[in-house]
């Protein structure tokens, strides 16, 4: 299976593993706590003691970057999983049932999609208030529209196959048809989409945090870290770009891995 792995894929996997380890073992790696004020000097310069300097409150930026990996990735992962649970289920149900059920679900989704996604999320968040759980649920619902559209269109091709008809004729429940007959056949597409969606959710959360509605201070998060230290840009300091780079690197790594997976999955299908 690993025989055909490309260098880009290796790069992607390495990045993902490094991020995962960082997120898991954040307290062991980070020299200081994420909310700990360690220096009386705000915006302290890079030094041996504070690797990437300190922020506006005198907290260690290196430590906060590491903790942010944990916060951002965990919340994004949870939101993406929710997105897929909702989107995929509804998408396949729509494709299998067809008719009125399909029309009703699809029009509701169209209505949500007609509005710019970030605005939908901002409005919903300002109604329910910004907590971690609310953030996950709101993003999960708003982003599920995209997954719904994808899984519905892929599932359409599977739902017309004779084996789905056979399942209906032998008396299977809708749940069985959705999860046992259709889902396994569209899984590779969904896994690839999962990687992409995950990146978008990371970006959405960072954008929300940058706007002040995402992960709330003092919890460290890459998006809010960019905003907090944005002033430094005017002084020619690259520090605010570090959390941005962290987001970019993760997005690239995940995409390389996903590309490889798609290629591998489609190659597998050719053999059959």
């Amino acid at each position: 299976m690993l025989r055909r792995t490309t260098p880009a894929a290796w790069f992607g996997f390495t990045v993902i593993v490094l991020y995962a380890l960082t997120a898991l073992f954040a307290p062991l790696i980070a020299p200081y706590g994420q909310t700990e004020v360690v220096s009386p000097v705000p915006y302290g310069p890079w030094s041996a003691q504070f690797l990437f300097g300190t922020d506006q409150l005198g907290r260690d930026i290196f430590s906060r970057l590491i903790y942010a990996a944990r916060n951002t990735i965990a919340i994004s992962l949870a939101a993406t999983l929710l997105t897929f649970a909702i989107g995929t289920t509804l998408g396949i149900v729509s494709a299998v049932l067809g008719g009125v059920a399909d029309v009703v679900i699809s029009r509701i989704v169209d209505a949500i999609m007609a509005l710019p996604q970030l605005i939908v999320i901002l409005v919903m968040l300002s109604v329910v208030g910004s907590s971690v759980v609310n953030l996950i649920i709101v993003i999960g619902i708003a982003d599920a529209t995209n997954v719904f559209r994808l899984s519905r269109s892929v599932a359409m091709n599977v739902a017309v196959m004779d084996f789905v008809e056979d399942a209906k004729v032998r008396g299977e429940s809708l749940t069985w048809i959705v999860f046992h007959e259709v889902l396994p056949n569209i899984l590779s597409t969904l896994v690839a989409e999962f990687g992409m969606r995950f990146c978008f959710v990371v970006l959405t959360i960072s954008a929300l945090s940058f706007l002040g509605l995402g992960i709330q201070p003092p919890t460290a998060d890459w998006g809010s870290m960019v905003r907090e230290n944005a002033t430094l840009i005017s002084y020619g300091d690259v520090t605010p770009l570090l959390p941005a780079a962290a987001i970019a690197l993760l997005a690239i790594g995940v995409n390389f891995a996903v590309d490889w997976f798609l290629h591998y999955a489609s190659g597998l299908r050719d053999d059959q």
Partner: protein, 536 residues
């Protein structure tokens, strides 16, 4: 080439395919020669390497395959040494290819005429208007109705038989020296097949085009070919002029190919009725597909429903299995009215009627192992679990002559015949009283067809199951049926015991259907066409 009128000569051709275990030979030392204007039939079961040899005649191999040895010389040109660019120029212009499924070979986004003349205009530099005129001439020659109109249509707007002829016209526009026909009529029903065969034969003869005709159907190849070559497992079995081969096949394998069509089951009289349809009508939207269907299926026997595509025979199966709600009439199963749709039927009613599909490729979920495909019905209908279920799956696989060792295979790891056996085992798992077989042998080659039919007959003797057998193939009907229903345009034309339906006098439609079934006799098509001409 020493032979003056030799067009194609292949010698010692070896082709290998890439597998996880390295390169495996799929064609092993095939040699053939073809003179100008000659038609060679390549015949064999699926996997024999017929298509691979056919493609190699154009200097082409499928992805994942390579030519490992031998020589391919076309009109003095060694195709193995030719650079790709010149090979491409040769294909289409001097060697053309007609694929099995014209529906897949045509681009649905372009008009038929544009695709037909594309090679002529782009590669040969023929002026557009002239190419168009030629193509329309070919359409007419291939007996396509109203060529002008047809040319402007998109591929989905014409029938399968017309599209197959349009594709032959496409292959002939550049006046190629050689055309490779790869099962061009396999996907068509018998009455359409006759039209296409006659059109192809006439066009090829008139233009003096040489052809390689690939098929698994002996009756078809004997109409088309001057010589026949039998292939098996990538090796030549024998080669002879058509008449000689038909009269006296030398090899046992060839004889076995010939004998398949002679399966014949004596019809048994009916004792008891299991399924009764009374004046059933059905429609898709406003389009009526079934009208006044009244028939009864005798228990423990086989009722064959025959007709060409569009006759409503598959719709009949959908009504019985509860997938389509009939608009009128009633269906009685063992004397009791059967609810019209699947979701109103009890699990017990669903269990008793099982459906086996034409294409096992789409009927078996590719992500489930044989174990799960067969075992699911045991769980669902008999609540079997663990070892008991395991044992029963093994029994069922033995029953369809597969064996328990296939339990952990995915459908993709099985051959076409094996997949159909799994489908049958899956239906048997429910211990059904009525099995609806919807064209279950039509996607298989002759030898496998024979094996599956024998299997079905044995299963009927052992379990007493009733078959509602839907087919367009009269040979299959002869082999398996007790009673026959002939359908045309949603209505029953004729019904009764097999022997009375299949012997004269016939109603006109049955006559046309029976006459269209190719016979293994090189003069059959000529005779049929002459007879039709007389009839006017």
């Amino acid at each position: 080439m020493t032979n003056e009128d030799g067009l194609l000569s292949i010698s010692g051709l070896k082709i290998e395919a890439e597998t996880p275990d390295g390169w495996q030979p799929i064609v092993n030392g095939v040699s053939l020669t073809l003179r100008k204007g000659e038609v060679l039939g390549l015949i064999g079961e699926s996997g024999a390497g017929k298509s691979t040899v056919g493609l190699a005649a154009m200097g082409f191999t499928r992805p994942g395959c390579r030519i490992a040895g031998g020589r391919i010389v076309f009109d003095g040109i060694d195709l193995m040494d030719l650079p790709q660019s010149q090979l491409r120029a040769l294909r289409g212009a001097r060697i053309a290819y007609v694929a099995q499924s014209a529906a897949l070979a045509f681009n649905p986004a372009h008009r038929i005429i544009d695709q037909t003349i594309e090679t002529a205009v782009l590669d040969m530099g023929v002026p557009r208007a002239e190419a168009r005129r030629n193509a329309l001439g070919l359409f007419a020659q291939l007996q396509l109705p109203d060529p002008e109109q047809l040319a402007r249509r998109y591929p989905h707007q014409v029938s399968g038989g017309q599209l197959q002829r349009a594709m032959t016209a496409m292959a002939m526009t550049c006046r190629p020296d050689l055309i490779i026909f790869d099962e061009p009529t396999t996907a068509l029903d018998v009455t359409t097949q006759v039209e296409v065969l006659a059109a192809i034969r006439k066009a090829v003869q008139e233009h003096g085009t040489a052809a390689i005709y690939i098929t698994h159907d002996l009756a078809v190849v004997s109409q088309m070919a001057d010589r026949i070559m039998v292939l098996r497992n990538g090796v030549e079995v024998e080669e002879a002029p058509t008449r000689q081969m038909l009269a006296a096949p030398r090899q046992d394998y060839t004889k076995s190919l010939w004998s398949v069509r002679h399966l014949h089951k004596p019809a048994a009289p009916r004792e008891d009725v299991i399924l009764d349809m009374r004046d059933v009508g059905a429609a898709y939207g406003k389009f009526r597909v079934l009208d006044g269907i009244t028939l009864s299926v005798p228990r423990g026997r086989t009722l064959a429903v025959v007709g060409e595509s569009g006759s409503g025979k598959s719709t009949l199966a959908r009504v019985v299995s509860g997938l389509l709600r009939p608009e009128q009439g009633e269906v009685l199963f063992k004397g009791a009215a059967l609810p019209p749709t699947v979701d109103r039927r009890s699990r017990e009613q669903l269990r008793q009627i099982q459906l086996v599909y034409q294409s096992a490729d789409t009927a078996l979920n590719p992500r489930q192992r044989v174990r799960d495909l067969v075992g699911r019905r045991l769980e669902l209908y008999f609540r079997m679990k663990g070892r008991e279920k395991e044992r029963r799956i093994g029994e069922l696989l033995d029953l369809v002559e597969l064996g328990a060792k296939y339990m952990d295979r995915f459908p993709g790891e099985l051959s076409g015949g094996q997949k159909q056996r799994v489908s049958i085992a899956r239906a048997l798992a429910a211990k059904p009283e009525l099995m609806i077989c919807d064209e279950i042998t039509s996607a298989l080659d002759q030898i496998i067809q024979g094996e599956i039919l024998k299997l079905l007959m044995r299963l009927q003797q052992e379990t007493g199951v009733t078959y509602l057998f839907i087919t367009h193939d009269i040979a299959t009907v002869r082999a398996i049926a007790d009673e026959v229903v002939v359908m045309n345009r949603g209505r029953i034309v004729q019904q009764g015991p097999k022997d009375s339906v299949l012997s004269p006098p016939y109603p006109p439609y049955t006559d046309r259907l029976l006459a269209s079934v190719p016979e293994i006799d090189p003069d059959w098509l000529t005779r049929l066409l002459a007879r039709r001409q007389e009839a006017g």
